[in-house]
């Protein structure tokens, strides 16, 4: 694994985002850097939900943030609606933010504690219009209502008066105000006319969800997951769903990518991936999920420590080789490339658990 390669990228006009060879480095002091993401590629079709799953420190959140260019990636391209965001100036990026939004893991931290809910949700309108106050209020009310928050009681309250689940709804409402704003539609139409090349490419709006339910209780988690599914259908959104919980990712995604230590391991549709994992790491992850069913046999053998190597000094070749049972010499000398093992099922492994197609 640790795979580079782009075999899993799809051609076609309906691809909204294509990320190629994405690298994100962070400074760790004294001029040294650590690669949080080291060369991954993936794409998302319009109307699709891509699930990005992996353990902490694998670079999944960083990948999500690289798409909205916060911060800008070190290298690689992020092509959104046919335009490479890396080529754009800060101001051009800012203009494009109307089409890409993000919701965060900590719902309370993602709302300014000193502003009212109405004010927070109306913020995108202040930046992008319409500037008419009553029009703004109507939009805010409609959005709060559609995420299941009563606008009349919520509008004048501050975030700390709400529970985590409620705050997450409010922050979703803020993103929706942005993505569904008619003023934006207008503006973007005008711009796409000027750059005719982007016209034929995928349309749609992207909502990046960075661990949106992992700080919530399970009952609230289900509410938010259902809400996201509803909103996606209702507004025709495209989503990227980043999480560490495999069951949650499977539930919401149309396609799942598994990440390990800054690299992609496996890409497939969720039902295939969970039924016939081809990468040993995917298999390990799936075997570790505690199933709420006492009749399921637990693999009691896994006791020894097997933890992430340091991302500042990753293993050569396949990055998973230090924890892999199927490791051979090839794994340390050569980095595996993405290749197909089935219909829309790709794996970056020298010794996959499933036969390689073609």
């Amino acid at each position: 694994m640790a795979g580079t390669g782009k075999a899993h990228l799809r051609p076609g006009d309906d691809v909204l985002v294509t990320v190629e060879d994405l690298v994100v480095e962070f400074p760790v002091g004294r001029g040294r850097t650590v690669k949080a993401v080291s060369g991954i590629s993936f794409d998302i079709r319009s109307g699709e939900t891509l699930g990005l799953v992996g353990e902490s420190g694998c670079g999944k959140s960083t990948s999500g943030r690289a798409i909205i260019q916060l911060p800008r990636p070190t290298s690689g391209s992020v092509t959104f609606r046919g335009v490479d965001l890396a080529d754009l100036s800060d101001e051009e990026i800012r203009q494009r933010r109307t089409h890409i939004q993000m919701i965060f893991q900590d719902p309370i931290s993602s709302l300014n504690p000193r502003r009212t809910v109405g004010d927070i949700v109306a913020e995108p309108l202040r930046v992008w219009g319409p500037s008419d106050a009553s029009e703004q209020e109507a939009i805010v009310d409609r959005m709060l209502d559609s995420v299941g928050v009563d606008p009349d009681t919520a509008r004048d309250k501050r975030p700390h008066e709400f529970s985590g689940g409620q705050c997450q709804r409010i922050s979703i409402a803020r993103s929706l105000v942005m993505l569904t704003n008619r003023g934006n539609l207008h503006r973007s139409r005008r711009r796409s006319r000027s750059s005719s090349r982007s016209r034929g490419r995928g349309r749609g709006r992207l909502l990046i969800c960075d661990e949106p339910v992992s700080s919530l209780d399970v009952s609230v988690q289900a509410q938010i997951l259902n809400l996201l599914e509803d909103l996606k259908a209702g507004y025709g959104l495209t989503m990227m769903f980043i999480a560490h919980d495999l069951a949650v990712v499977k539930n919401i995604s149309d396609r799942v990518a598994v990440m390990y230590l800054g690299k992609l391991c496996e890409v497939a549709d969720p039902d295939t991936l969970y039924a016939e994992a081809a990468h040993p790491y995917t298999d390990l992850l799936l075997g570790s999920v505690p199933e709420p069913d006492p009749t399921v046999e637990i693999d009691e053998g896994l006791i020894e420590d097997g933890e992430l190597p340091s991302p500042s000094n990753p293993p050569s070749g396949c990055r998973f080789r230090t924890r892999c049972e199927r490791v051979t010499d090839l794994c340390s000398s050569e980095e595996p490339q993405m290749r197909a093992v089935g219909d829309d099922h790709f794996v970056a492994c020298h010794h996959p658990l499933a036969a390689v197609a073609g």
């Binding site: 939004q101 993000m102 709302l111």
Partner: protein
């Protein structure tokens, strides 16, 4: 500590009343004292029956020096037969002006620079903080002594400006530390993701969250500044006589300490109690904030 009563504040009375209801009685007392002392300093000229602070009665055969507390002079007179109460009231002007100047310059300039560099980070940050560190490397009073002396002039404006200028660095530090952690919060990232301009983020998202901490710090800092001005005055290096200042009064009282302790006691009490009130109310505000943030 907004003590002005304008209609907007009056409309929110119930809120203030609830606020006051939460205060322990000591804090209520301290807050009242602060209001009284501020009012007395502001309206000193209008207080009926308050003597002229510089009128030396004994020169005109009108009163003696070192009188004890009595009816004609409520708190007695000093060794120049000046009315102590009047001198304390006018002395409060010096202490409070200096404290206000320090808080104002600290919050406005220190708060702004600190928030700015904490938000943008990078080179601006290291440069500004290097300067701040150098200024902070001077022991406060020593630097103050040097600057005040070298300036030659020692009126209230000079003293207040110098002390105000020297309080910018500590506020910058406090503001920066706060802005750093606030800038890492996700609502700032969210604002950027919405496409809000950086300047707007600084003023709408960062600074409003830095301010409460800065104001709580300002209470405590005001107390320190009043002590500093007191020390400066005690050394004879604050505002030039005959303008009264609490520290100057304490210093002057030393000569006749054997004969009359009152001229030493009253300004000391005024100083100690004002500083204590600031500390007490400041601590209370901080406690209130920490409870509130813990509840988040």
């Amino acid at each position: 500590m907004d003590t002005a009563v304008d209609p907007a504040v009056a409309a929110r009375r119930p809120w203030i009343r609830r606020f006051v209801a939460k205060m322990p009685w000591v804090t209520r007392f301290c807050a009242s004292w602060l209001i009284v002392i501020v009012a007395a300093a502001v309206f000193a000229d209008l207080i009926p029956g308050l003597a002229d602070p510089n009128y030396q009665g004994f020169l005109f055969g009108d009163g003696a020096t070192n009188e004890g507390p009595g009816l004609s002079h409520f708190l007695g007179t000093d060794n120049n037969s000046r009315d102590i109460l009047a001198r304390i009231v006018y002395g409060a002007r010096v202490s409070l002006t200096v404290a206000l100047a320090a808080v104002f310059m600290g919050v406005v300039f220190g708060g702004f620079f600190g928030s700015l560099v904490g938000f943008v980070r990078g080179k601006t940050d290291s440069t500004v903080m290097a300067v701040v560190d150098v200024i902070l490397a001077f022991p406060g009073l020593v630097l103050l002594l040097t600057v005040v002396t070298l300036l030659g002039r020692r009126d209230l404006v000079v003293i207040a400006t110098v002390i105000g200028f020297l309080s910018i660095p500590p506020y910058t530090r406090v503001a920066r530390a706060n802005a750093l952690s606030i800038s890492r919060r996700e609502f700032v990232t969210a604002a950027r993701a919405i496409g809000t301009k950086k300047r707007t983020i600084l003023f709408r998202e960062v600074i409003p969250n830095v301010l409460p901490t800065l104001l709580a710090y300002a209470m405590v800092n005001a107390a320190v500044i009043i002590l500093l001005e007191g020390a400066l005055a005690f050394l004879g290096l604050s505002v030039e006589p005959p303008t009264s200042s609490w520290g100057t009064m304490v210093n002057a009282s030393r000569v006749d300490l054997q004969i009359n302790v009152w001229p030493a006691i009253w300004p000391s009490l005024a100083l100690v109690f004002t500083v204590y009130s600031l500390n007490n109310v400041g601590d209370w505000l901080r406690r209130l904030r920490s409870v509130r943030s813990a509840a988040l």
